[in-house]
Symmetry: C2
Subunit: 282 residues, 2 copies
């Protein structure tokens, strides 16, 4: 199976429409039809159910969609990492670390400082991204290592080491009645009138239904909380860089959050190993 065939199939499987898929791929529709038909012939498997009105995935087609995406990511990763390895000989890029915008800022800066002072350290680029994007970036080679937060992020398919575990706090506008308390419970937070938890985009970029404002990162969230439009339960390390107009109260029965450093399983890079060692020693 060639990656071209896989790319074609994934496009059709995602669009469920040969015309649109062909447009997305920048080719005409007939060659696409033929390519898919040939793929099915070579596999000996029906991947799509076509009627003249609609296209649907077969059971085998769904499997190939999932597995094919993973395979394409792996090929892309191979290409990107090879390019980066060549540049690394020339000097510049080193490692790319990805983490969620506005999370673990203090831990991250400590880690970068500590690593930079190690002998043999290479330059580290920091990439900030939205929730759920990190895994993808690691898998397709755009990043080498990530700071993740369990249980929100999954470490499925990655190697990881735990760095720290912390409780959570509820973030509220300064002066909110609840901020007078030394601690609260999840039930208190859930009962806050007019302060629903925000909605974050899922892996596919869409937002779940329900109340609460849609947000993309913590800066947006803080602004909405300051405006009295939302509240949020966050790891307590967020207090280190909280705005002056917000306050945080520990939530005693919230699940603890574990910050982990994670990397693709078969990495062999010495620089990465050094960064991980530094992180564990922190």
């Amino acid at each position: 199976m060639e990656t071209r065939e896989l790319r074609y199939f994934v496009a059709v499987a995602e669009e469920l429409h040969f015309g649109r898929a062909a447009q997305r791929l920048g080719i005409a529709q007939p060659p696409l039809s033929r390519a898919i038909a040939q793929l099915e012939r070579r596999l000996g498997v029906a991947l799509l159910e076509r009627t003249s009105r609609a296209v649907a995935l077969t059971e085998a087609g769904s499997v190939l969609l999932v597995e094919g995406r993973a395979a394409l990511d792996a090929v892309e990763a191979a290409e990107r990492r090879t390019r980066r390895a060549a540049l690394a000989g020339a000097g510049q890029p080193g490692l790319v670390l990805v983490t969620k915008a506005g999370a673990s800022g203090e831990l991250l800066s400590k880690l970068l400082d500590a690593y930079a002072s190690e002998p043999g350290a290479v330059p580290v680029d920091v990439l900030l991204c939205g929730v759920g994007e990190q895994e993808r970036l690691l898998r397709d080679g755009r990043a080498d290592v990530a700071l993740l937060h369990r249980p929100f992020d999954s470490t499925v398919g990655l190697d990881s080491e735990e760095l720290r575990t912390e409780g959570q706090v509820v973030v509220l506008p300064a002066g909110h009645p609840l901020t007078a308390q030394a601690q609260v419970r999840m039930a208190d937070v859930a009962a806050l009138p007019g302060l629903p938890p925000p909605r974050r985009p899922g892996p596919d970029g869409t937002y779940p239904d329900g109340p609460g404002p849609q947000i993309r990162d913590n800066a947006q969230l803080y602004q909405l909380i300051a405006l009295g439009r939302a509240s949020a339960v966050l790891p307590e390390s967020c207090r280190a860089d909280l705005r002056r107009d917000l306050a945080a109260v520990p939530v005693v029965d919230a699940p603890t959050v574990t910050t982990v450093i994670a990397w693709p399983p078969h990495s062999r890079s010495l620089a990465l190993a050094g960064l991980i060692r530094t992180a564990i020693r922190l």
Copy 2:
């Protein structure tokens, strides 16, 4: 990057010889030279250092060898799993479980019995293989799930659940003086005259240097122990299917062995989920 290019590069990188690689690929040498040159041009990266006498990998080439193998495995896995998914509609194959020959036999048979009596169970093929092959089989789609033994097997890049933890025993010929003791220590085993531990093949199929007989599976090992040519420290569950002419003595300070059930991280199969649930409940 097309899989054809990757296959070609991996062949050359493994052989370090264009002629042999071409032969292995079933093509002539000139097209292979051209394909590699074109790959390097498209990537903008030198992958090989050629002299007229020898071919060597560059830094970037080593990266592409590792990453490319992983990518090719992922593509193969996509193909195999798609084919299997199509057959599963027709009924037969179900799941493929892989484990080391001669390990966890009792646990395995319990698991298979328990799963078979679940509602909605599918047929499970059992594949027995040598040490270190399981990870490969899971990654390239020839198997769906494996029983692994930490710390001997790595679960890098896989999802897993622990099933049981056990101590280890030393296996000796029946009647050996040490079998009179209720327990021994690692130092006692290491000091056994003329009974070195066996050597098992590594991931590349070669044996480490040193004393001790070369073995491929536990049946060979048992025969060598019975002949008085070797001894071995194994998980205590091996006692369940030990030959009559062998005896086992607990080793109190040997590392404990954890049997885990492991599967590729992005599996979405209901049948697999059922098998895993059954295993955890055992």
